[in-house]
Every structure is written in C-alpha cells, then in structure tokens.
C-alpha cells in the first residue's frame, strides 16, 4: 500500500537536516582535497513535498544541467543526485583538467571525471551516515546525464513513486567561492519507508 504523507515533526526535520549537515561536511572536505579548492556549503534544507512538485524544487524546468545519480542500499535505501549547472560544469572541467574550453564536452574522460566526483561525494557522505546511524550502506555505480533537470530526476521519482505520492527532499548547495561560477546541488531522497528507520537510528 502506498505510504501516506510522512508528516515529520520539527525535531525529526531538524535531525534529518543535521544528518545531512554532518555528511556534507565530510563530502565537501573530500571534494576540496580532490580539487585543491575551498568548498562551502549552505545549511541543508528539508522539504516534504508531493512527488509532482519535486522537478520544480530541483530547478528550472527548461534548464539543461549535468546530473550524477547514485542509489544506496542497506538497512535504509535511497537516492542521491548531484546537479551542476552548465556554467559550473565548465569551471569544474577547467579546474580538474586544466583545459580552457567554451563548450561543454562529455567524452569518456570527462564523463568519468564527473562520475568520479559523484563517487567521492557520495562515498564520503555515506561513510558518515554509516557511523551516525550504525549501519552498513553500499552505493551503486554513478550514472551520468546531461539533460533537462526534470527529466534527470524522473528515474528517482519512479523509484519513490512506487510506494508513495509524497517524498522528503534534503537539499544542500555547495560552491567554490574563489572562482566565479562553481555551484552544485546535493539532493538526498530517501525511500519513503526508510525515513523512519533513519530517524529511529538516531532515537526519534
């Protein structure tokens, strides 16, 4: 049966926010080491929304973005999506490869570079979750897409939509401040039946 709206209370929302906050701290540190840059991130936002409203939350419906998607599983299951605007991806490619290009190129090398960033961010994020929630988690290989943000999120919503009409979206924006244009967004969308397990693991 589909799970009804979760109706998280304030303490539960705060707990999810804090879990993400700690996870993001480690994930951005790993990314900073990889890039040799200081990375900042905003305080994560937790939202409970109907699945139909998730695309608008992720971004402009007609904007083409770079997305890296990973699923994680274990006692809890869920989806992590990294979204980079086109401009940020150009900056990222410049930092990582040293090549100055005006056009975004996604050959095998650059695609796997972006995927590897997904691996590193998600790997370090999940290792923090494992410690905090006291459980083993594994993640999938990263999948790459360069498309409309709302189309990229489709496979995630399909996964979530099987059991529920609403979902929890935990969002954190990160950026490199010394360059003009490098921002990215981290989205964690736990499966609906995993939210309470996550909260239970921290005593809520």
């Amino acid at each position: 049966m589909p799970v009804e709206a979760l109706n998280l209370n304030r303490a539960q929302e705060d707990a999810l926010q804090e879990l993400c906050n700690i996870g993001m701290g480690h994930a951005t540190t790993a990314l900073a080491q990889l890039m040799g840059k200081t990375i900042y991130f905003d305080i994560p936002k937790v939202a409970q929304v109907p699945i139909s409203q998730v695309p608008e939350l992720i971004g402009n419906a007609e904007e083409i973005v770079v997305g890296v998607y990973l699923r994680f599983s274990g006692p809890i299951n869920g989806n992590i999506l990294l979204i980079f605007p086109k401009k940020s991806m150009l900056t990222l490619q410049r930092i990582m490869t040293g090549n100055h290009t005006k056009e975004l190129i996604f050959d095998e090398y650059r695609t796997s570079l972006v995927k590897e960033i997904g691996n590193i961010v998600v790997g370090s994020y999940l290792s923090v979750m494992e410690g905090l929630l006291k459980m083993r988690l594994v993640h999938s290989v990263p999948w790459f897409a360069f498309d409309l943000a709302s189309a990229i999120i489709d496979p995630v919503l399909i996964e979530l939509g099987k059991n529920s009409d609403t979902t929890v979206v935990i969002e954190a924006e990160f950026s490199v401040r010394e360059t003009d244009d490098l921002t990215g967004k981290f989205y964690l969308l736990p499966d609906s039946n995993s939210i309470h397990l996550m909260l239970g693991a921290v005593g809520l």
């Binding site: 139909s52 695309p55 007609e62 009409d165």
Partner: protein, 165 residues
Amino acid sequence: MKKVLRVRISEHAVAGDSVRLKSYGLGSCIGLVIWDRARKIGGMAHILLPAARNHSFRHKSAKYASSAVTVLVEELLGRGCDHKQLVAKIAGGANMFPLRFNLACSEPGTSIGQLNVRAVKQALVRRKIPLVSEEIGGERGRTIEFDPRSGELFVYNSSGEVKVI
C-alpha cells in the same frame, strides 16, 4: 498568446481550443494526449509508472498508465466527446541513464521507459483508442505542448529541436 496549462507528474488536464497543455521534462515518464478530432477538445496526462504495484489499490489518477487512460477518457466523455472520434498521441519513455541496468525493473533488458510505453499502449488498446503518432524511447528528455485546436503535439527535445506529431 494562448493560455498554457502546465501538467505536472501524476496530473492530467482537459482543455478546449483556447488553451494549450504542456508537460516539461519528460524523461522515462510518458506524456499522453487523447484528443477528440471533431470537437477539438483534448486531454494530457503525465504518467510516472506502468501500474500500481498493489492492484487492489485503485488509484484514480494520471500517475499510472492504465488509470491515466481511464481518467482522461472519462473526463472527455463527460465533456460531451464522442468515443469514436478519440485518438491518442504519446511522447517520452526515454532511458535517462542508459547504462543503468534495470534496478528499477522486474524485467531484464527493459527500461522503465519501455515498460511505461508498453503499459500505455495496452491501456489504449483496452479502451479502443487508436494511437496515431508517437515520439518515444531514446536517451534524451522531452518537453511537450499540445494544441487542442489543431491536434498538433509539439515535442521539444533537450537539444532544442522540435518535432510536430
């Protein structure tokens, strides 16, 4: 400018010839249009999944392929449309992460997009509505816009190209 009505995931809308219907960013989702050729009334549904996992649960919405066809047809008939004049068009059903082997699917070698397409086609056959055109599959997202006056379905792909089906 005509009024444009946005149809989000799991939603549907029916409109006469003064309104255009639009769905943004169809990935593996399906945009289904059913149109009364004589009365120039059309409906659009933004379908997420092939079918409800629990069949006893009757989900009266555009979320699932089978219920989406039913919901649109009933609403069109309720607005005085003639079943014999109804035709369908579909777009979407892409595989957004091509190398992602079927985590989401029960059937090996099939993407959720393909399963969605198949489910919509089966539902249309059951309701005896001819499918007159389609723009499906591939690995790119699409945005669609339907004009009930002309029956034209504009399919924009994410590279900015447009096809009218």
